[in-house]
């Protein structure tokens, strides 16, 4: 399985680390679009609520020796009725909380999600705040409902990374993930992500033909 490789490893001078990243924010602020831009460099204006992907992965090279792989969990729409489970937050190393800079209420929701993260997730989780739909205000400045300075002040106070992004034009999307990667404790990746091997868990695979056939004395 893709997610079960070594979480952190070092070969010679090169480092490889894998982290779980969760997305949060109100419906329709562009969570999935940001991921789609980051992972596939695509944008789809009529994207419906997320269906079909358990999680996506994308790798960033911080420098020639350092590679960070994100395992990105989308909400799959479970934020709509506040039905995100503890499992979603479990062992998340980092989170992107998204709001829509043209919708004033969406920043309030984002603040609630930050609180929820601080309650549910790892103490050391790295949180980035992303004000999305920057393209809309570039075209029509009067659409802006949340001033950059206000959101930035909140982010600084709460200890969050902060970017205004556009999934549509790709502005700041890669920068957002790169700055998260830079803040992650690359040398501690292993123990913080128990899903990724080394814990003596069992691997459940579909049976190969014959495994079921032998009866108790097949061994």
């Amino acid at each position: 399985m893709a997610a079960r490789g070594p979480a952190g490893s070092r070969v010679g001078n090169s480092r490889f680390a894998q982290f779980k990243l969760v997305l949060l924010g109100e419906s329709a602020v562009g969570k999935s679009s940001i991921v789609l831009r980051f992972v596939k460099d695509q944008f789809d204006s009529y994207r419906e609520s997320t269906i079909g992907a358990a999680f996506l992965t994308q790798t960033i090279s911080l420098d020639e020796n350092t590679t960070v792989k994100f395992e990105i969990w989308d909400t799959a729409g479970q934020e709509r009725y506040k039905s995100l489970a503890p499992m979603y937050y479990r062992n998340a190393n980092c989170a992107v909380v998204v709001y829509d800079i043209t919708q004033a209420a969406s920043l309030d929701k984002a603040k609630q999600w930050v609180k929820e993260l601080q309650r549910q997730a790892n103490e050391n989780i790295i949180i980035a705040l992303a004000g999305n739909k920057l393209d809309l205000v570039t075209e029509q400045p009067d659409k802006r409902a949340i001033q950059t300075a206000d959101a930035e002040a909140y982010a600084r106070e709460a200890g969050l990374l902060f970017f205004e992004t556009s999934a549509k034009t790709a502005e700041n999307v890669r920068e957002l993930f790169t700055s998260i990667a830079k803040k992650l404790p690359l040398d501690q990746a292993g123990p913080r992500n128990p899903r990724s091997g080394g814990r003596g868990g069992v691997e459940l695979r579909p049976d190969t033909p014959g495994t079921q056939a032998g009866g108790p004395c097949s061994c």
Binding site: M1, I51, A54, T57, R80, M87, G215, S218
Partner: protein, 466 residues
């Protein structure tokens, strides 16, 4: 808040998470509603503070959970169950890819008790011919008889009468089979209860149960040989991960979940249920949201329709916190110990399931042991579980309902007449095989055909490209 769709194919109420996800994967439009504020209802895992508060066994003003470390390091199951590594639930998990969100660990041992009181001994359940020969459960001659029985089970083929030892396998009883091998009563006990996992002895005298019993013994053996130590596996962070994993799977396929939501009314047209009126309580302090939606059918656990279900028994259960492993279990960090009914003069087995910090369900040094059985008296529940408590040694904390025991429900009707398809309660068995049978049964009733587990995700790629 988004609008609720005007109609769903299926509305699922309560703890039928496996069904919602299976139906979502199969392309049905599913709305899943639970009155609780967490996934899994009674099948959830809770932290130790919640457990104390749920059972109420502490003095107001005191906070006894504080001496057990960080409350969130505890994930205590309310329903004690283990998965068989070759069982149907494991197959469903693998074929639906729920395994992407869960990590499993082996349960270290499977044990059985022989005798009772001061003479009780605990021994590993032998899973193959070699273990049978080394087992302390049997004398020297009995070991050889057991070895030839296990070997026969391995080569048994229901369709080949040459492998039936001269028995008419479809009409004989399991007693006839045991007699054929000359097995002693004690051996029959651990075969039937610790390997075939029957809860009572009625399978022995019932005609035609031999093929199923043999199948169960093979499932046990195959499950042991899959990972080596025991036939059981268990999810890290507790069983409460299962409903969450199934819920996420359902959501990924477009299913909608609403927790904290009460059903105000079921809407009928004639005899048939066609929709619901419900209210979602908002935890953020906003107004509750009332809504009405239609559906083709309703699937529910019996707690939502008590008048459409009957009580078939009472489950007795005690959740115990220990700071040591069970005696006689080779210091296992986890195990299943079965006390067959006849060993302690009962009609129903007593199960003990033990898990520990090895499964991220409690801090290091602690063990969670759940003792359970079916009630045979209307009082003295503590006494009924006593043979189980004897196995635990010193108990730090014991959580047990003081009042009436937990009723086990079964639906009165198939659901075809009113479009309301009701599941059974989780039973006293310590594994999921019966639960999965129930999932298949309700699926067959509701959908009119058998649930085929393989190929559920044909043509679907659940994981993004690298």
């Amino acid at each position: 808040m988004d609008d609720i769709a005007p109609e769903y194919d299926v509305i699922v109420l309560g703890t039928a998470d496996k069904l919602s996800s299976v139906l979502s994967v199969k392309g049905k439009k599913v709305l899943h509603i639970d009155r609780n504020d967490h996934y899994g209802g009674e099948a959830a895992s809770v932290n130790i503070e919640t457990l104390f508060k749920k059972y109420g066994n502490y003095t107001k003003g005191e906070e006894p959970w504080k001496k057990y470390g960080r409350v969130n390091d505890w994930n205590i199951d309310l329903v004690p169950k283990l998965l068989m590594s070759c069982g149907e639930l494991t197959n469903i998990l693998v074929s639906t890819d729920v395994t992407r969100y869960l990590e499993f660990k082996q349960v270290a041992g499977s044990y059985v008790q022989q005798g009772s009181g001061a003479k009780a001994t605990v021994a590993k359940v032998p899973s193959d011919a070699g273990e049978a020969l080394r087992s302390s459960l049997m004398g020297i001659f009995e070991k050889r008889r057991m070895k030839s029985f296990i070997e026969w089970v391995g080569t048994f083929d229901a369709t080949d009468s040459a492998s039936h030892k001269g028995l008419n396998i479809n009409t004989c009883t399991m007693k006839d089979v045991y007699d054929k091998f000359g097995l002693e009563a004690g051996t029959r006990d651990f075969i039937g209860h610790a390997m075939a996992l029957y809860q009572t002895d009625s399978y022995i005298s019932e005609k035609g149960t031999a093929p199923e019993t043999i199948e169960r013994i093979r499932l046990y053996g195959n499950s042991v040989s899959r990972y080596g130590k025991s036939p059981y596996i268990y999810p890290l962070y507790g069983l409460g991960e299962l409903p969450q994993g199934f819920a996420r799977l359902s959501a990924i396929y477009g299913g909608t979940y609403m927790l904290n939501t009460n059903i105000d009314e079921v809407l009928y047209e004639g005899d048939k249920a066609v929709g619901i009126k419900a209210t979602m309580q908002d935890r953020g302090g906003e107004e509750p949201m009332k809504f009405t939606t239609k559906c083709k059918k309703i699937l529910a656990d019996p707690s939502y329709f008590p008048s459409k279900a009957q009580v078939t028994g009472q489950l007795l259960k005690a959740i115990c916190i220990l700071n040591h492993p069970l005696a006689g279990t080779d210091n296992s960090d986890s195990c299943q110990l079965i006390i067959p009914q006849s060993q302690v003069g009962r009609n129903h087995d007593i199960y003990i399931a033990v898990v520990s910090s090895a499964h991220n369900v409690c801090p290091k040094g602690y063990y969670i042991a759940i003792v359970s059985t079916i009630a045979e008296t209307s009082a003295n529940h503590h006494l009924e579980l006593a043979p189980g408590f004897e196995r635990l040694g010193k108990i730090e904390e014991k959580f047990m309902y003081q009042g009436p025991s937990i009723p086990l429900y079964e639906p009165l009707e198939s659901g075809v007449n009113d479009n309301i398809f009701i599941s059974k309660s989780y039973d006293a068995t310590s594994h999921f095989e019966t639960t999965t049978d129930d999932v298949k049964d309700i699926y067959r009733r509701a959908e009119g055909h058998d649930l085929v587990v393989e190929g559920l995700r044909e043509g679907t790629n659940l994981v993004g490209e690298e």
